[in-house]
């Protein structure tokens, strides 16, 4: 059962008025313009035991993504494909308002939006993960851990997932005569095959203004929030209006346009961050 959120932090009237008056001047509290995301840093390979991993910082929001590949069975309706499983946790350390317990509707929503945005455009080449059709295939466990929440864990998480996947290697394995699989977890061989890259772009509607990559204060005063997934050609590969507000037809058009432009910025920033990550590590 879903219920109206009751434990959200209160934004003081003074702060919300000052945020809105800054928006009128085309500025936000961290001196950004309305269409720019925050600073992004990405470290890959932060968890050696995982097949792939990344730590993303989008402003002060921090998300860690770990990818583990385990042997398993393909789904009956896709016998020639590997299996993608995305899970996410909004852990209590990340925010005073996250509670301990199994993933709540927000964590589930995050995982499912990421999953759909990878699955629908076939971003991951799942066919390359099959070992024996109908019987054996790799299961790709993607675990998204939001560690520090200052707004917009959607975009940060997807950047982390992309970076981790781009950095994921399948383990070496042998098949015995009896058909058993012996996995050499410490010998990581083939890189995971990706067909496409996808980013999530979140925009918040605050009065008449649409802002890209809202920080926590902006999320708390926003009337509505839209998350759009884009591939590099500008196709929309996922959408989720999340939050209790609504959009008029023209507001929705505007948000789509603004998000599309921002997706190109995100792809560029993703490349830059990965480059820097490679140089550093």
């Amino acid at each position: 059962m879903s219920y109206t959120p009751y434990r959200l932090p209160v934004v003081s009237r003074i702060k919300s008025e000052s945020l809105i008056s800054m928006l009128k001047r085309g500025l936000r509290s961290d001196q950004r313009d309305l269409v720019s995301p925050r600073n992004i840093t990405i470290e890959v390979g932060v968890i050696e035991k995982a097949n792939g991993s990344a730590l993303v910082k989008l402003g002060k929001t921090q998300v860690m993504v770990g990818v583990k590949i385990e042997p398993g069975r393909p789904f009956p309706d896709t016998p020639d494909e590997g299996v993608l499983q995305v899970n996410s946790e909004l852990v209590p350390m990340a925010s005073p308002v996250f509670e301990p317990g199994p993933p709540d509707e927000n964590a589930i929503e995050l995982a499912r939006v990421i999953d759909r945005s990878l699955r629908d455009p076939k971003a991951i080449d799942l066919k390359s993960l099959v070992i024996r059709p109908g019987e054996k295939a790799w299961v790709l466990w993607v675990d998204v851990y939001v560690l520090d929440y200052d707004g917009n864990y959607f975009d940060a998480s997807m950047l982390g997932v992309m970076a981790a996947l781009m950095n994921t290697k399948l383990p070496e394995y042998e098949e015995t005569e009896s058909g058993e699989l012996i996995v050499h977890r410490d010998k990581l061989a083939t890189p995971l095959k990706l067909n496409k890259r996808v980013v999530l772009v979140t925009t918040a509607k605050i009065g008449d203004y649409i802002v890209v990559d809202p920080n926590l204060d902006e999320e708390l005063i926003a009337d509505a929030r839209l998350i759009l997934a884009f591939d590099e050609e500008g196709n929309i590969v996922g959408a989720q209006k999340s939050s209790i507000g609504g959009y008029t037809r023209s507001e929705l058009s505007r948000a789509i346009e603004v998000s599309r432009k921002a997706s190109q910025i995100y792809f560029k920033l993703l490349d830059q961050a990965l480059q820097l990550g490679k140089q550093a590590g």
Partner: protein
Amino acid sequence: MSRVKQRPERFIDEMGRRLDGRLPDEMRPVDIKVGVLSNADGSALVSYGKTKVIAAVYGPREPPQRFAILPDRASLFVRYHMAPFSTEERKSPVPTRREIELSKVVREALEPVVLSELFPRTAIEVYIEVLQSDGGTRTASVTAASAALADAGIPMKGLVAGVAVGKVDGVVVLDINELEDNFGDADMPVAAAPDLGLITLFQLNGVMTVEEMQRGIDMALKVISDIVEKEKEALKGSIEVEAE
């Protein structure tokens, strides 16, 4: 042993008709009845073709969970759930991650229209059961919930209704059924309050160009107005006007 559905060869034939004979911009027959349950404060039974959904509303009343009380408005509690016999293969009644996400999405589709500020410290509960699933269950659920809320006399700024837009064989189609949903290229559920010009539910599963999305949104908004008219007819029809 699970029964696996086969992907249709084609979704649209040479005459431009879909698998069930409809044209791309054609809806399935929509039926709305209100006041179908005697205990609930409000209720509605809605079908879009074979998709059948029932919604019941209780409230405003004391919240079932005291921790969720809000001092300045009513809390909306929404449960979207699929009955075990509603799907092709029997589904376990235990709520799945999908039902948890859709409960949130449906609640967020209703929040903008319910005048919850009028009833602080109370709960308005909406219980939705999908009785038969043939595509578009969450949008039919929003329609049923809206009619049930109005049937309960809960003050609303306007009624909402929804429809799922899809894409098959490269063509944008309206009100997808289960086959088109499972094997098509996109599923874009939309819900809106036409009297207020407000879109309250919007998602995309699949791949679309920006132009296809914009076209799909316009197609959806047109039929949503018609569905809301049906809600109004059902509500007005439930009252016989004093003739004297």
